[in-house]
């Protein structure tokens, strides 16, 4: 299934009811989980972040501007919550992002599960070595498929800042990863 960063549902289809908004957020869960896993380095930590993000989004829904992208707004909440959590962990002495050995298998087929786990672990491990500002920029563009403009909007930075972060992130990743 190919997905893009574009909104799945147009505003014209919205009826703005509670059920409509909740259904839209359910639709966004897979993408939020992927983004959060890539940011935090693990599926479990990512899911914690997604849960926090969903609860915050619903509680603060009046801050979302109808007509703007709900997905971008929620990705921004996830990014900000992740930064807040890291800050509070730092204060309380918890060590930063680590990729756990027991990351759950993502597919049931045995060999493929092992591959997928290895890939996720390798990629997440490489991403975790990037400064957060580079990681979030790269993940939005390379994994989530956001355009530069939309990614810059999520991160609330100018496009020029976004492109230089992506360039630095890719340079760094090329150095971490062995030549294929």
């Amino acid at each position: 299934m190919e997905e893009t960063g574009s909104p799945a549902v147009k505003d014209a289809d919205m009826d703005w009811s509670d059920e409509d908004i909740r259904a839209r957020i359910v639709q966004l869960l897979p993408r939020l989980r992927r983004f959060a896993a890539a940011l935090t380095g693990s599926i479990a930590d990512g899911d914690d972040l997604v849960q926090d993000t969903v609860e915050r989004a619903l509680k603060n829904l009046h801050r979302w501007e109808p007509g703007t992208r709900l997905d971008s707004w929620m990705f921004r909440i996830a990014k900000n919550r992740f930064i807040d959590t890291r800050r509070s962990h730092k204060r309380s002495g918890v060590v930063g992002t680590e990729v756990p050995e027991d990351a759950p298998a993502m597919v049931s087929d045995g060999a493929r599960a092992a591959d997928a786990r290895l890939m996720l672990k390798d990629v997440a491990g490489a991403l975790a070595r990037l400064p957060l500002e580079q990681r979030e920029a790269l993940v939005l563009v390379s994994v989530e498929g956001f355009s530069y403009r939309d990614a810059a909007d999520v991160l609330e930075i100018p496009i020029g800042t976004l492109t230089s972060r992506i360039a630095r992130a890719r340079e760094a990743l090329a150095e971490f990863a062995p030549e294929g």
Partner: protein, 237 residues
């Protein structure tokens, strides 16, 4: 001094934009042509493209996997901003009409029989009697205790006055406190008024025009229970 990059002399950011498909079609073509002549750049681009695909693949199973129950439960049941329920109606053009009526100081009614608790005094439509007493004394948490009006939400408006929404009989309204008591800013017939005794959600049952009137005039957040009680105890502004 760094030279401005061109498709003939691209820098890494331009090559990245090529990888991400962010260049104008003409520049995409020019970079592609350049890569055919520059194996060093071509190798760099290919490697970055592979890493981009690899990164996406690494997380792709999360897209097809069913989200865990706890996330579905959060999306379906976590508390939803009640201010959103007010705000969403501003997108439905109710705001314009209700706002205009408020600006003109009109009290609207649909087949409305103004109750005896509402009178015109000195050119203003004012609450009196049981309605005025309810607006002065009652808290939202009191509900329909005995006779009189039920209070919805209370808030400070942009003029610095305290305002309260209420339901009285078959009507809903918005009243704002002034020097001479409670001025009725909006009064409308309430749909399904016969079910008034039953428990209802304050947000979802508020008539659209009333919602819009609140949204148009509120300054900041509505009062919570503590602020509402405090405003009552000091006699309303």
């Amino acid at each position: 001094m760094e030279q401005e990059p061109t498709p003939e002399m691209p820098n890494k950011e331009m090559l990245n934009a090529f990888i991400d498909g962010e260049l104008a079609p003409k520049d995409m073509e020019r970079i592609a042509a350049l890569l055919a002549e520059r194996p060093d750049l071509d190798q760099w681009v290919r490697r970055q493209e592979e890493m981009r695909v690899g990164m996406k693949d690494a997380f792709s199973d999360l897209l097809s996997a069913a989200p865990p129950d706890r996330l579905l439960a959060a999306a379906k049941t976590a508390p939803l901003s009640w201010r959103w329920r007010i705000k969403r109606f501003t997108t439905e053009r109710v705001l314009a009409s209700a706002g205009a009526m408020l600006a003109l100081g009109l009290v609207i009614g649909v087949a409305l029989q103004p109750p005896s608790e509402i009178v015109t005094r000195g050119g203003q439509v004012m609450a009196q009697g049981a309605l005025a007493t309810a607006l002065n004394d009652r808290l939202a948490s009191d509900g329909y205790a005995g006779a009189g009006a039920r209070i919805g939400i209370s808030f400070r408006n942009r003029d610095g006055r305290d305002c309260r929404t209420f339901e009285a009989g078959a009507q809903s309204g918005l009243a704002c406190h002034g020097d001479k008591g409670w001025a009725i800013a909006l009064l409308i017939a309430r749909p399904n008024a016969e079910s008034s005794g039953a428990y209802r959600m304050a947000g979802s049952e508020m008539p659209d025009a009333l919602r819009a009137a609140v949204t148009a005039s509120i300054a900041g957040e509505p009062f919570d229970a503590a602020a509402e009680k405090e405003a009552r105890d000091r006699g309303w502004k």
